[in-house]
Symmetry: C2
Amino acid sequence: MSSKQRVRPGGRSARVQASVHTAVRELMEERGREALTVPLVAQRAGVTPSTIYRRWGNLQELLSDVAVERLRPDTEPEDHGDLRSDLTAWAEQFLDEMTSASGRAYVRDALLGDPDGSNAGQCSAYAAEQIDVILARATDREENTPGVETVMDRIVAPMMYRILFRPAGLDAAYARRLVTELLGLRGKGDE
Amino acid sequence: MSSKQRVRPGGRSARVQASVHTAVRELMEERGREALTVPLVAQRAGVTPSTIYRRWGNLQELLSDVAVERLRPDTEPEDHGDLRSDLTAWAEQFLDEMTSASGRAYVRDALLGDPDGSNAGQCSAYAAEQIDVILARATDREENTPGVETVMDRIVAPMMYRILFRPAGLDAAYARRLVTELLGLRGKGDE
């Protein structure tokens, strides 16, 4: 079971979560991911190991929760004035972040300690929310706008698939090509 | 043991691998994945636990190797006489296999115990090889044929991305739509 169901908004539960997440991030930076253990994290966070086991089950599920938190976008996508520019900038930045050493580790962690798939689903929801913002702006500008699931299939999915399974040749030019191949077919003078 | 077996390259090594893989598959069926341990697998395979640790490092890496072996296609894609039919049949079958409980578990195992990404790369290579066969047939028929990387981006990537991150609505109609959206754009009377 994921921790989410047990997390109360605010209160002690939220404080425990914050201090444990912080402890994981600090220890990862100081000692590297391989050195992490539940007792070490508990000591740094000022909680007992059993608090962590009760709440997260094991280290892998804790790392998955921390990874999803790190993958949450902290700003809205930039507004460059048209759909093609917005999607291109977003895709380039997404690929850049996800192909970094820490991005790859977070994606991997998010997937691994996630028996019910809720954390993976949350990662995907973050991307879809960002794309929704971009598409809503394009609709407001009366641009010809694809649906969010189409953008997930045509831009997000190929990038994430290649990051996980087929990483050769992943660069900004690839991200741009995916956008061009999607929007080039939709006319409205975007070429 | 015959002398022939002893001089064959990889003789003992290949036998150890086969017996350990078989032990994993049998124990998974009998007791479920959660019950597996290295000592249990070693006992069933007739090897010492240290043989397994030496060769695979840990249980997760062993499960990753077994998963990749299970994900290897054992036949060529069926030949239905034209590219659209071949790709549709292949995509439907691929999605069906990968969304099954065992398919999802194998994909997950393949990714998890794979620190250098070679097993994930092998999974992707299996799909690309199958698609290569389909595309080569289409080229021989003088059909208008996309490149293999385009098919990976447009058909394999969306299916695998959704299996891992966004599983709602994954069915045969989705697989067919991906093929139609790819080939519908390429003319040659395929509609």
